[in-house]
C-alpha cells in the first residue's frame, strides 16, 4: 500500500494528476480511508498506471485512454486508433515544418533589413460574379484607362458594381503587352453585343495574400515580398494574380488599400 505521495514518487506521476485520474475514473485508488479520505494505491495498480502514461505519451486523450483500457480485449480497435494517431502525428509534423519554414523566411527578411514589412496570409477566396473589360496594355500603369472605359460602359447600361479588381493574366511578370482584365463585382447581366464580359471568377482554395497600404507606386514591393515568400515556403504560382482595390485613396492616393492575391499550390 502506498500513500499518494509515495506512489507519485515511485511512478513520477504528480499527485495532482493521480487525483485527477481518480476523479475522472481512470485510476481509482485500491482503497480510501473513510475517516481521512486518504487514497491508498497498491503495486498491482502499476501496470494500469503505466499503460495510462504510455498511451498518453502516444498522444491519446484521457478519454481515449479510458476507452482503450476498458476495451482491453479488442486489439483491432487499438490498431485502428494507432493508425489514425499516426496520420495525425504526421500531419502535425508537416504543419510544424511549414511553420519552421515561415519562421526562417522571416528571419532572412530581417537580416536583409527589408524596410517595408509585409505580412503574407494564406486563405481561401470564394467564387464571385464579375463584370469586366479585358485588353492588351502597353504597360501595367495603363490599367487606369481600362477602368475608365469599364466604368463608362457600366454607367451607360445603368449597372453599378461594388469592389474594383484587376486580374493580370500573364503567367510571368512583364511590363509590355500586358494581358489585363479590369473588373467590378456584380451579379448584373450585360448586353451580348457590348464589350462587357460577365463571368464567374472561380473560387481559389489556397491564395497567398498581401495587403498594400499607401501609394500605388510602391505596390511592387508587396508583389516582390509575396513572390519571395511563395518560393521560400515551397509553393508555386497556380493561376492569374488578382489585385482587389479595397479603398480608394482619399488624399492623393496615399492611403489607398489594395490586396494582392496569388493562387498557389504546394510543390510536389
Amino acid at each position: 500500500m502506498f500513500k499518494i505521495g509515495d506512489f507519485s514518487r515511485l511512478t513520477q506521476v504528480t499527485v495532482k494528476a493521480l487525483r485527477h485520474y481518480d476523479r475522472i475514473g481512470l485510476l481509482k485508488p485500491a482503497s480510501i480511508d473513510p475517516e481521512s479520505g486518504y487514497r491508498y494505491y497498491t503495486s498491482s495498480q502499476l501496470p494500469r498506471l503505466n499503460r495510462i502514461v504510455a498511451l498518453k505519451d502516444l498522444g491519446f486523450s484521457l478519454e481515449q485512454v479510458g476507452q482503450l483500457l476498458d476495451a482491453e480485449l479488442a486489439p483491432e480497435q487499438l490498431r485502428s486508433m494507432l493508425l489514425q494517431k499516426q496520420d495525425e502525428v504526421r500531419e502535425q509534423i508537416d504543419a510544424e515544418q511549414a511553420r519552421l519554414a515561415r519562421i526562417e523566411t522571416r528571419l532572412r527578411q530581417l537580416e536583409e533589413g527589408s524596410a517595408a514589412r509585409y505580412d503574407v496570409v494564406v486563405k481561401s477566396v470564394e467564387a464571385q460574379r464579375i463584370i469586366s473589360l479585358r485588353g492588351l496594355l502597353p504597360g501595367r500603369s495603363a490599367i487606369g484607362q481600362l477602368f475608365r472605359e469599364l466604368h463608362a460602359n457600366l454607367r451607360r447600361h445603368g449597372i453599378n458594381g461594388t469592389t474594383n479588381l484587376t486580374i493580370w493574366h500573364d503567367a510571368d511578370y512583364r511590363d509590355e503587352e500586358v494581358d489585363a482584365e479590369a473588373a467590378v463585382v456584380s451579379d448584373a447581366r450585360v448586353p451580348e453585343s457590348g464589350p462587357l464580359i460577365a463571368r464567374e471568377l472561380p473560387a481559389v482554395a489556397t491564395m497567398a495574400c498581401v495587403v498594400h497600404h499607401g501609394s500605388p507606386e510602391t505596390i511592387g514591393d508587396g508583389c516582390q515580398a509575396l513572390l519571395q515568400w511563395i518560393e521560400a515556403n515551397g509553393y508555386r504560382l497556380d493561376g492569374p494574380e488578382r489585385v482587389v482595390l479595397l479603398q480608394r485613396g482619399k488624399a492623393g492616393w496615399n492611403d489607398a488599400v489594395a490586396e494582392m492575391q496569388y493562387p498557389i499550390a504546394a510543390l510536389t
Copy 2:
C-alpha cells in the same frame, strides 16, 4: 467601413475571433455604433489584422503578438523571439518524431501478436542509499540464495531495509558467471569487516521501465519487450539493469510485482 460579418468574410477570420481580439485589445474596431453596439472595421485595419494572423501562424500566443505589435520598432526583439520560437518548433518536431517511433513500435508489436503486453515508460530515478551483497552466480535463478545471505547478514547486525532490488552488472545478458548484486534500500551503516557493502546507487536521468506482474518465471518476456523497445526508439543501454521487487507474491509468487529498469541514452 465593414460590418463584422463582411470583415470576417474578407479576411477569413471568424466573427468570434474578431470579437475576441476586440475584448483583449488586440484589434479594436475603427468605430462602434453607440446605439446598437455594432462594430465597424475599415480596410486600413487590414495590415494589422494580417500581421496578427501571420504572427499567430508562426506559433506566437496572442499576448506575444500584442507585444510584437506594440514594439513595432524593435526588430531586435522580434529577432530574438523568432529565434526562440525556432528552437521551440524544432523541439516540438523532435518530440513528434519520437512519438511516431513509439506508435510504430506499438503497431509492429500488434502485428507480431505478442500476447504479453508491456508498457514501457521513461522516467528518472533518484539516488538511493543501499546495502548489498555482490557475487558471481552460476545463473540468474541463483539470485534467491544471494538474497537469503543478504538478509541473514542484515538480521545479524539488526538492520532492516525496505525494498529489495537486484542489480545485474553484466553489460550483456548471460546466464552463467553472472555478476549480480542483491540489495535493500537503507541508510544504515555496516561494519567495515563484514561482507556487506553500503553505497549510493546513483540517480539516473532517463530510465526505461517496465512492470512485471505475475510469476517470476515469465519475467524474461518483459526484459525482451524492453530491449526491443529501446532499440526501436533510438536508444542504447547505458548502465546496469536494475530489478526492483515492489511486492512479494502472496499466493505462490503468482502476483509478485517487479519493475525492471534500464538506464538508457539516445543514440547520437
